[in-house]
């Protein structure tokens, strides 16, 4: 889908609607300003008219947005607004939920990830995910990082590989170091790579999960509230890391902390109850002068 097509599609969706504000007054909201927002750079992921149902529950309603590459896009909104559902659509994690049905298109570098024949393992390698609670495997730090590349066959260490000379321990070491370095964890764990990962602190475990995600060389990293279980110091490290990663990767992060969205993201999408994307724009614009009164009320804490 080209940028032009996207803009036209959205212009068709532009319409005024009456909405109630917290003060009870009804205001006309026009979505013309933001629906044509195309992000700050080349589009990595383009979402068009995405609807998600969980059985009879309409979790996402006609969401369209372009996510630019090598930047941080924050998804914010109250609980149940559909932001995590939206995130999971970006690497088809919702396929794992039997009752979920997804309509619309999501293209990654121009290819529709929902078309028939898409290799889901390959897709999730390109679009990695980091979850709210750190979930390292109960294995060594080294094995946590090399697990993905081994599974994908990027490094071979098994008996057959060793016997046939395909095993390359040096390559594995380099990949582990590189991934831990990139996740800002190398200096803290370099002397104990064979220790069990569960012995790390929460913040270290989360950075290990990010290193594990980076080890398979993704294009996009999806993060679902990656710092909500961490203390302020560990949160700062994750936030620094998110900004750093955006130099090379496309990062999409769901967060309940509006200050975190304001601090780390380049653009922010605000979802409100009912699975509706209400406003999507540069983060400065959202937090300084949003178009929508409902977004203004939400980010100002006038309802939640």
């Amino acid at each position: 889908m080209s940028q032009t097509d996207t803009a036209e599609t959205r212009t068709n969706r532009t319409e005024s609607q009456s909405v109630s504000t917290t003060t009870g007054e009804t205001v006309e909201e026009t979505q013309a300003e933001w629906t044509t927002y195309e992000g700050g750079g080349e589009t990595k992921l383009a979402v068009d008219d995405l609807d998600v149902h969980y059985g009879s529950d309409h979790a996402l309603k006609g969401v369209s947005m372009d996510i630019p590459e090598e930047s941080v896009t924050a998804l914010i909104g109250p609980s149940g607004c559909g932001k995590s559902t939206f995130l999971r659509c970006l690497n088809r994690m919702n396929d794992r939920i039997r009752a979920a049905s997804v309509d619309g298109t999501v293209t990654l570098d121009g290819e529709n990830i929902y078309q028939d024949g898409v290799d889901l393992v390959e897709l999730r390698k390109r679009v990695g995910m980091v979850f709210q609670s750190p979930n390292p495997f109960p294995k060594s730090i080294r094995e946590n990082v090399s697990y993905g590349p081994r599974k994908h066959g990027d490094i071979e260490t098994g008996l057959l590989a060793r016997l046939t000379g395909r095993a390359d321990p040096g390559r594995e070491e380099a990949l582990v170091e590189q991934s831990l370095e990139r996740a800002a964890l190398w200096e803290e764990v370099r002397d104990r790579l064979d220790d069990n990962a569960l012995g790390l602190s929460g913040g270290q475990q989360q950075r290990l999960c990010i290193a594990r995600c980076l080890a398979v060389d993704p294009d996009v990293i999806l993060m679902d509230e990656p710092a909500s279980a961490l203390d302020p110091i560990a949160t700062s490290k994750i936030e620094d890391l998110i900004e750093d990663l955006a130099e090379d990767y496309t990062v999409v992060v769901v967060t309940h902390s509006m200050q975190q969205a304001a601090r780390v993201s380049d653009q922010t999408a605000v979802f409100l109850t009912g699975g509706e994307l209400v406003e999507y724009d540069d983060t400065e614009k959202i937090f300084e002068n949003p178009e929508s009164q409902r977004v203004e009320d939400y980010i100002s804490g006038k309802f939640g």
Binding site: T273, E296, I299, S300, K302, F303
Partner: protein, 225 residues
Amino acid sequence: MIAVPREDYRASLDDLRANVESMAEDVLKQLQHALDALDGDDHTLARTVIDGDDHINQQYLDLESDCVDLIALQQPVASDLRFVVASFKILTDLERIADLATNLARYALADISAIVSDVRIQEIGETAVEQVRAAVDAYVAGDADACRAIAGHDDELDTSCQTASEAVVRELIASDPDGWEIEQRLDGVSRLLLTIRDLERVGDHAVNIAARTLYMDEGSPELIY
């Protein structure tokens, strides 16, 4: 949606608006008293204005601190953020207007009124006071149209000030004073020219207040320069 009013925070924002308005009233009083002191060569009133500047300065520091607290502790966003940031800037303009009122009071102690008959300081002063009054009203009401009108009226004040300054210089030249007379008159003429310039600057601060109010109201930087 469940309403979460953040009552203390909303009350803090309301308090800030009321306190900035209250400081503005005090500043306007200082300015008017300074003009009255100039008009009537009232040294007692002039000294009251000069002494009153400490109170204005204290209000300025207290309210600036309130703005910093709101930003640090409540993390306002969107229109709340623009309101706090605009108020923070407007406080500086109000404090500067009070400083200029103090200057005017000092000139009043030196009796400049009799120096040049042609210059209508009171008329210029009234226009400057009206501009500040209008800017403060626009801030309190969040009136964007009034902000643009204030910016437009500033040209009239500038023209009046330029005309007055030229009149002072012309009169000085026309009086063709001798050497010792020039020395005697120069202090008075300088003070008169400074009075005119200070009133013109009061008008500029009124425009600044309007500019920040427009930013607060519409997010538009169009009057900020």
